[in-house]
Symmetry: C2
Subunit: 411 residues, 2 copies
């Protein structure tokens, strides 16, 4: 991003350029959290098994621990006979060892006694007289047994760094006795709304020309989904000086600044002026080749990424999903983002698109058919009506009705 | 589920039968939560717009509010001329109305003044002398304007009931001034672990035969993902009487009981005995046609669904994803579950499967290739190594290498 400092004229960038090129170095510090608060948190480093898992050889079936060689050649017609010399209790060490010609009863999960190298399932045995079983099927060494280090060898990586922890990862850590994890702190994302017309969402009666702040509530939710901690910076009037001061105040405690800018050209220019004065390297791009969402500003000021969003709520949310969410994940140390829900569908009608610009089209999906939801970019109802969206890439001039499209679904 | 009460012998069910037939009537009560805590919560009823949105006709562009008829026939070669009689300020009512032959300057998002029915973009105008613009392109009525009720008409449903709230839904509610939502309470899911061998995850040193409770930590995470509130009931020994008492104590405060049962046949039978004594209608099925996960128990006791899971952590988690998560969503009022991430892939090798049984196979996915992760059902590492899983349906006898499969991805 160093070249941005010397850029005299702000260029419009493609979404691909932004995703590849706007990659701030900032990372949050780390903290240690208990396991029950670690779901979806991002481990700062791999976690290794402190000891072998499960830690002892276990039976995978209910049956008898035996020496496999004692069962070789047995069959329904020619059973083998073994003397029962004991029984393994769950959660306890076996009392004795398995000696030649003998067997020890064992439940699923029990400790394999010394001397035994296999477990014959109870279904293939019968206690023909007290203390003696017949065995009608041979077992190979290792059959019916989980090795002491089969789930993890000591020192083996059980959890990688950089990928949000999933439910099964927490299970694995619990199994290993790892009850706290060092993770990246959640990046603090300070969200500013701007615009003389914007009032708080809890304003009961609007004066003519006023609109409630819809974008901040939705952005906060997207920030939380991306693993960030949303903080409201407040609603700023269309006054670059006041905005600059508010942004400057928020810089030290923020990992990313997000500004949903005023809608008019003047308001947007004012936002750019305020951001430009925050500090080097400054504005990286002003204008993104995307529809809706062109008036997007990306900057880095005093080590903090700054994302200026379009004033229209719908455009702002479209751009934030595509550009803002990856930035938050990056700053939060997430190098392996979770998969997004998606589905293949056929397009219900032709869609036009200009080359050199990425188009994001909201769609409903019903029975494999993706139906575009049209409406002005000022309308939030287009987003709430949609099940997901399709992306028409920069190079395409449109999509034909019936063509197969990949729909990213809203979860 | 009424027929379950009279069932003398417990039957094995298919997963399809369980999903269609094990549908408890229980629903949580409702509560009202503020908007900033409402993400992914399930609205108990639809929310309607209390007034039209945006509430006033707005400009979608920077330009001049005009009477469309005043621009008819104008062109680059034959511009029209209009007198500027004012300017709309953001967030304020216009000072005057647009009269014939006149125009009022307006920023994007400004209130359309009375008399105007369109906005001509500033790009198609020029202020040829102070107070007069020339217009070089005609506009149609409605062009450049969002109608006062275009985002929502008063009384129109803006959010449906039963679907977890998404970021854009919160934005829409904020726009409408709806700052709290009536949602289903999160169902309380009490999780019991059983087994003489199971010790808490924070046990630093294991005695021979002991294993730490891995399942409870992972189940709690899956419960949270499904919109539930996990509560730990504790680790119970293999003692049906003690388990029954603990379950009975937990019933009044639980919306669902989950028991990860001991691994051995005796322990599983003990769990079934304890559940059977909890109350009518009792056990609905004991045994599920799924691999892994056969020793699954589904019951409803005194109005509370009870899910008995296999003792092996991996089997327990597989079954809980398929059967437990839908039950939690149902009890929590969610009638439109969010989409799951998935991807199409080619299978790397042949997979055998028995008919009449659903097989769940863990896979990694790399470059469109789904590679099965094999290992005993006792191994958690199979789940942590996997990117997702494929389902081989009951009727299939297996899948061929190269066949296209749908992989449900772990998020």
């Amino acid at each position: 991003m160093a070249d941005a400092a010397s850029r005299e004229f702000f260029t419009t960038r493609t979404v691909g350029e932004a995703l590849a090129g706007f990659r701030p170095d900032r990372r949050t510090r780390t903290e240690t959290v208990p396991l029950h608060l670690a779901l979806r948190r991002v481990p700062a480093e791999p976690v290794t098994a402190p000891h072998p898992l499960p830690g002892f050889p276990r039976s995978t079936v209910d049956g008898y621990a035996v020496r496999a060689a004692d069962t070789y050649g047995v069959s329904e017609g020619l059973p083998g006979y073994l003397t029962i010399t004991g029984a393994v209790r769950m959660g306890a060490a076996p009392d004795g060892a398995v000696t030649p010609g003998c067997a020890i009863a064992i439940p699923t999960g029990g400790v394999i006694p010394a001397g035994a190298d296999a477990v014959v399932m109870i279904e293939y045995t019968a206690e023909v007289m007290p203390g003696t079983i017949e065995v009608v099927r041979p077992v190979a060494p290792g059959e019916g047994v989980v090795r002491a280090d089969e789930d993890a060898m000591p020192g083996q990586e059980i959890i990688g760094g950089g990928r949000p922890l999933r439910p099964q990862d927490l299970g694995m850590l619990a199994a290993a006795g790892v009850t706290s994890v060092t993770v990246y702190k959640k990046p603090v994302i300070t969200i500013f709304s701007t615009g003389d017309e914007v009032v708080p969402a809890d304003t009961p009666e609007l004066k003519p020309g006023q609109v409630r702040d819809a974008t901040a509530a939705a952005l906060a939710a997207l920030v939380a989904d991306a693993g960030g901690e949303p903080v409201f910076g407040g609603i700023m009037p269309d006054d670059p000086g006041a905005l600059e001061m508010a942004l400057r105040d928020a810089l030290p405690a923020s990992d990313v600044l997000v500004i949903s800018a005023g809608s008019s050209v003047g308001a947007r220019d004012g936002t750019a002026d305020a951001v430009a004065r925050l500090g080097p390297p400054g504005i990286w791009c002003h204008g993104l080749a995307i529809k809706p969402g062109k008036p997007t500003l990306l900057a880095e000021c005093a080590g903090v990424p700054v994302i200026g969003l379009p004033g229209n709520p719908r455009s702002a949310l479209v751009v934030f999903r595509l550009i803002g969410v990856p930035v938050i994940r990056l700053v939060g140390g997430c190098t392996a983002p979770p998969p997004e829900p998606s589905t293949r569908a056929r397009l219900s009608r032709d869609l036009a698109s200009a080359t050199g610009r990425l188009d994001v089209v909201q769609v409903t999906v019903d029975d494999g058919l993706a139906v575009p939801v049209f409406g002005l970019s000022a309308l939030l109802s287009v987003l709430t009506a949609a099940d997901g969206y399709i992306v028409i890439p920069d190079e395409a001039t449109g999509l034909d009705a019936g063509s197969e499209v990949n729909v990213i679904l809203y979860a």
